[in-house]
Amino acid sequence: MDQLLAALDDSWRVLVLGIAIGAGLPTLFALGVKSLAWGLGGDVERHAAGEFPKPHLPGRIIAYTLFAIVILVAALGITYIVAHGQGWVITFDGIVPVFTPK
């Protein structure tokens, strides 16, 4: 019974963090793609015939910022995998990862 409770306890943590990061990243990326579409204008987004959507600079800025965040998180993920493999202990101070060699 204790084992089941322990597994449930871990499961909901994985689920909550999983949704925040694992579903959050593609969502940010999709927002980035959407912003870039607005930022570039033209035929990227579906639009009524005869119209020509104008490009918007803010759209492009927002898009590249979002892409940068996604890349940053992915880089953190890779750093985590490598550090973990190297036997480092990774703890989190809030959301800031702290790497300590064993």
Binding site: D2, Q3, L4, L5, A6, A7, D9, D10, S11, R13, V14, L15, L17, G18, I19, I21, G22, A23, G24, L25, P26, T27, F29, A30, L31, V33, K34, L36, A37, D43, V44, E45, R46, V70, I71, A74, G77, I78, Y80, I81, V82, H84, G85, Q86, G87, I90
Partner: protein, 392 residues
Amino acid sequence: MTPQIVLLVVVCATALAFDFTNGFHDTANAMAAAIATGALKPRAAVSLCASLDLIGALISVEVAITVTNQVIRIQNPDGSPIATLMDDGGMPLLLIVMAGLAGAIIWNILTWLFGLPSSSSHALFGGLIGATVASVGWDGVKWVGEGFHLDGVVGKVVLPALASPVIACIVATVGTRLVFALTSRITEVYRDRFFRRAQLGSASMLALSHGTNDAQKTMGVITLALIASGVWTDTAAIPLWVKLTCAVAIASGTFTGGWRIIRTMGKGLVEIAPPQGFCAESSSATVILISSQLGFALSTTHVATGSILGTGLGRPGATVRWATAGRMGMAWLITLPLSGAVGAVCWWVSHLIGGLAGGLTVFVLVVLSAGYMFLHSRREVVSHHNVTDEWS
């Protein structure tokens, strides 16, 4: 050469063969979605996956000598084999390991033949559990961990296997739903181009993470056999040649592709579009990394399959082939008992014949059954040519 040393060589070869099957069984976890969406050509995908697997296995310094302690009692807490299995130059322990590996390999090849993803770690544990029950008895198995520390068959195998597909499925469903809602007005060509690129990153992360985890288990098993034979004594380190050969074995397995499993995961469950592929991989990578951080060891195979199912549930109008999913679920349920049964039978065979001859007989059995299943697979070949054909 003493019989023990000959058996040790055979055990090492069998362990490397298991590592190889572990590789081709798991290529799909990282690459199935990327291959299905055309983010990577099939050959490029397995090459990338194999390279990252190799790098992952080599950069990892984690010492997994005590890997069997999670489910059975053939080692002391420090990793040295228990004294009763050390009679006769470690022969009893070598035979348990040999039979366990045999069970795991046969199960891995059989599930590959049917194109079913199933966890290689569970197959290895199953084989070892079966061999241990046959030799030491039911008490030799750690069925349930103590208190709130997840351990034993229940805590390390059963509960994670139940939790992982569900968690991954929910995460991927949420991600996919949000992504399709946000990109509904963007033309498909444009949208897919971006998500294909993103998939390269997420698939690579999965492959690297696989390398740092899975090869370690075989390294641990080989080192245990070396210690039992007295060839190696340090329980805090793994010989360099073991590390190198295991890394190469798992990477070569990955490189051969395991196309049958890639096909089932990439085409058989859900039709995957690039946004779904990225959501599935992002969900898998995140769930695996978070659970490993919490010490709640989820199986990569179960997570990856759950994520792909989730992307089918999350996309409006998509169909999920539940019959295929059901077959997989069934395979997961019987992985432990069946690989265990093979492990137990192999142990009995080796025990009845006895000593080196017994171990060699099991080895021959493994080679024969692997050969038979391979020949059987040639009747309906799945390769990089037809891996992404329409599912029928």
